[in-house]
């Protein structure tokens, strides 16, 4: 199968859907002629023109609120935040309007809006350009949250986002954007709420999110040489969250680590841990472990930045500790 990058895969999903659905339009800063800070829309302006690739002033609240009104009236906006950090000025529109209007209108109004942005720590981007924020959108009812880690998943999940009628956060880790992977030329979609078992194993289960998925896979390949047989699960969407696949794996392995770059407190790991506790307490042979980035704003200096994110050594240690429990 041909290999393309993560960004190319997501862009393919977008351009293919824009070709078949004239109600899709994209807003963002520099997503027009320039093609997006991360090349998310490269070449699309030439095809679809300024009404559908709409460069905006720096008004995140304004264009998100505007896109809510557009989604309510027959079009499908895609908001391209560039860095997801810029989403924060629009939280009122997101949490009080976009997530609630389907409910408040008893399903008579749809809210087909895709909110995409680049997440994660890396490249000394410092604290205003390194956020992730997905646990917030899992906590609040009304959002779908997609967090693909491969080009294949990026394309398939974005297609689903662009054809569904719900608000979707589509989050792309900055260190994944240029990774290549196999993506079929044929049309496909990936359903939300279906985790990928990225690696089968029987000694322990690692649930790994976003950039932690390739990291965990690399670590587990190393650990296999030590005789450790680890299962790696990438949930791919956090809302809905495929607990079935995770529980099934834990029933098999009895041990669970959740590896997530962003903050631990009230995070995804906490939620998965609590649910496994509730559903599968007796299957556990060891306490569930969480591995998270430090609970701190992101520092700039490489010496500090690398100190706050779990690296391969930390992942390997967490897995060894878990298996040793």
């Amino acid at each position: 199968m041909r290999e393309i990058t993560y960004t190319e895969a997501a862009r393919e999903a977008l351009t293919e859907q824009m070709a078949v659905d004239p109600s899709i339009f994209v807003v963002g800063e520099g997503i027009g002629e320039r093609g997006g800070n991360f090349n998310t829309t490269l070449g699309l302006y030439e095809k679809y023109g300024p009404m559908r690739l709409r460069d905006t002033p720096i008004v995140e609240r304004g264009f998100v609120g505007m896109c809510a009104g557009a989604a309510m009236t027959g079009t499908r906006p895609v908001v391209d935040f560039m860095f997801i950090d810029f989403i924060l000025d629009s939280m009122g529109e997101l949490l009080n309007q976009i997530s609630k209007i389907q409910y408040m209108s008893s399903g008579r109004i749809k809210m087909p809006i895709v909110l995409r942005g680049c997440i994660g720590i890396g490249g000394a981007a410092a604290t205003h350009h390194s956020g992730s924020y997905y646990p917030l959108f899992v906590h609040i009812p009304g959002f779908r949250v997609a967090l693909p880690s491969t080009p294949y998943d990026a394309k398939g999940l974005l297609k689903t986002a662009l054809t569904g009628d719900d608000p979707v956060l589509f989050l792309e880790h900055k260190l994944l954007l240029n990774r290549r992977g196999p993506v079929p030329e044929e049309e496909y979609k990936l359903p939300f709420g279906q985790a990928a078992v990225a690696r089968e194993g029987s000694d322990a289960t690692v649930v790994a999110l976003a950039v932690m998925a390739p990291k965990a896979l690399a670590v587990c390949d190393e650990l296999a040489k030590e005789g450790l047989d680890i299962e790696v699960i990438d949930p791919r969407t956090l809302a809905p969250l495929d607990m079935g696949t995770i529980l099934e794996s834990v029933r098999k392995t009895g041990r669970l680590l959740i590896a997530d770059e962003t903050f631990g407190p009230c995070g995804i790991g906490a939620e998965i841990s609590a649910q496994v506790m509730e559903e599968s307490f007796d299957d556990l042979d060891a306490p569930i472990a969480r591995l998270n980035g430090a609970h701190t704003p992101t520092p700039y200096s490489p010496s500090l930045e690398s100190a706050i994110i779990p690296d391969n050594v930390a992942i390997a240690k967490a897995i060894r500790d878990l298996v040793a429990e």
């Binding site: 109600s23 339009f25 009404m51 559908r52 709409r54 905006t56 002033p57 008004v59 609240r61 304004g62 264009f63 998100v64 609120g65 505007m66 896109c67 809510a68 009104g69 557009a70 989604a71 309510m72 009236t73 027959g74 079009t75 906006p77 009122g92 529109e93 009080n96 309007q97 209007i101 389907q102 409910y103 408040m104 209108s105 008893s106 399903g107 008579r108 109004i109 749809k110 809210m111 087909p112 009812p141 009304g142 779908r144 689903t160 569904g164 009628d165 719900d166 939300f192």
Partner: protein, 329 residues
């Protein structure tokens, strides 16, 4: 009362009167119901401001859309939502326009273009602009209307929303209902520049007028021009309506201190319904009997709506979490 619009005949004039009377009667009955404990949540009435909703919505089609505020009963009624559906919603009943999910501040009837009232100040402006974006992208001649109070004018949503609508020439009508207060904070303390229309034109280069919001014909005329502009693809407009609410900010709230008796009395003398009624009579567009008949019909309709609301069932608790997501995914 002043109107240059000589083309209006009684077929157009009397429905304006009826709509204002309908809003007034509905509000008064809702206020009474609130006092009786029949409205379980908050209730912000539109009494004194009826001319704005009636005047603006008179020029809208069913497929034009309206985005409204916490003070939205009048907008809902003027857009065509029945008094039954509004009253039942405030009573928290399954027969309400939001099936009991919304209450006073969350009225929805998208099938006739009422895209929602909002308990949060500001979003109506942005969503109104967004509907305009849809219509422009889809090549439709529909028009979008955003209502908001003077309280929203200092908010960032006003600035961002007006600017976006202006630079992209969106078919949107921004209707500012300046009733001089945001709860008890006077507009003159919220800003040094109270002229909203001038701001819209100077800061955003938008077609903007300031009208007497208690003069239904003046509002209607401004709306007519704005709707025509929007439908013709000539971009957004702002209509600033100077008005006054003659009841407290919300039912059950104390109303003392921030407004003088004289101010209140002066505005009551300028009641939009009474003054329009007088103008209709003076100009031979209606007889006393004619207006009384309208009022009687309205009163009966509203009283029946309240009874409908009272006797309707509460929603089934088992449905409390329905409709968060579309069925589609």
């Amino acid at each position: 009362m002043s109107s240059d619009d000589i083309t209006l005949n009684s077929q157009q004039l009397l429905p304006l009167y009826r709509m204002m009377a309908l809003i007034r009667r509905t509000e008064e009955q809702l206020a009474r119901s609130h006092q009786m404990g029949l409205v379980p949540g908050p209730c912000h009435t539109y009494v004194g401001e009826e001319a704005i909703a009636a005047g603006v919505c008179a020029k809208l089609r069913d497929d034009d859309v309206v985005f409204s505020t916490h003070r939205g009963h009048g907008h809902a009624l003027a857009k065509g939502v029945s008094p039954r559906a509004v009253a039942a919603e405030l009573f928290g009943k399954a027969t309400g326009c939001s099936q009991g999910r919304g209450g006073s501040m969350h009225l929805f009837a998208p099938e006739i273009g009422l895209m929602g009232t909002s308990g949060i100040v500001g979003p109506s402006i942005l969503q109104g602009a967004g509907a305009g974006y849809s219509f422009k992208l889809l090549g439709s001649d529909q028009v979008s209307v955003a209502f908001f109070g003077d309280g929203a004018v200092s908010n960032g949503a006003f600035h961002e929303g007006l600017n976006l609508a202006a630079i992209w020439d969106l078919p949107v009508i921004f209707v500012c209902e300046d009733n001089m207060y945001a709860t008890e904070v006077p507009f003159r303390e919220a800003t040094r520049v109270q002229d909203v229309a001038e701001r819209a034109s100077v800061s955003y280069d938008m077609a903007a007028v300031c009208v007497d919001g208690n003069d239904v014909l003046a509002v209607r005329q401004a709306s007519e021009a704005a709707v025509a502009r929007a439908r013709a693809g000539e971009g957004p407009s702002l209509i600033e309506c100077k008005t006054y609410r003659t009841r407290p900010h919300a039912e059950g709230m104390r109303d003392g201190g921030y407004r003088t008796d004289e101010e209140m009395a002066a505005w009551k003398r300028r009641d939009p319904i009474a003054s329009y009624g007088a103008w209709l009579l003076e100009n031979g567009h209606a007889s006393e009997g004619g207006l009384e008949a309208i009022e009687a019909e309205v009163n009966a309709t509203v009283d029946e709506a309240i009874e409908f609301a009272r006797s309707s069932p509460f929603p089934d608790p088992a449905t409390a979490s329905d409709f968060i997501f579309s069925a589609g995914v």
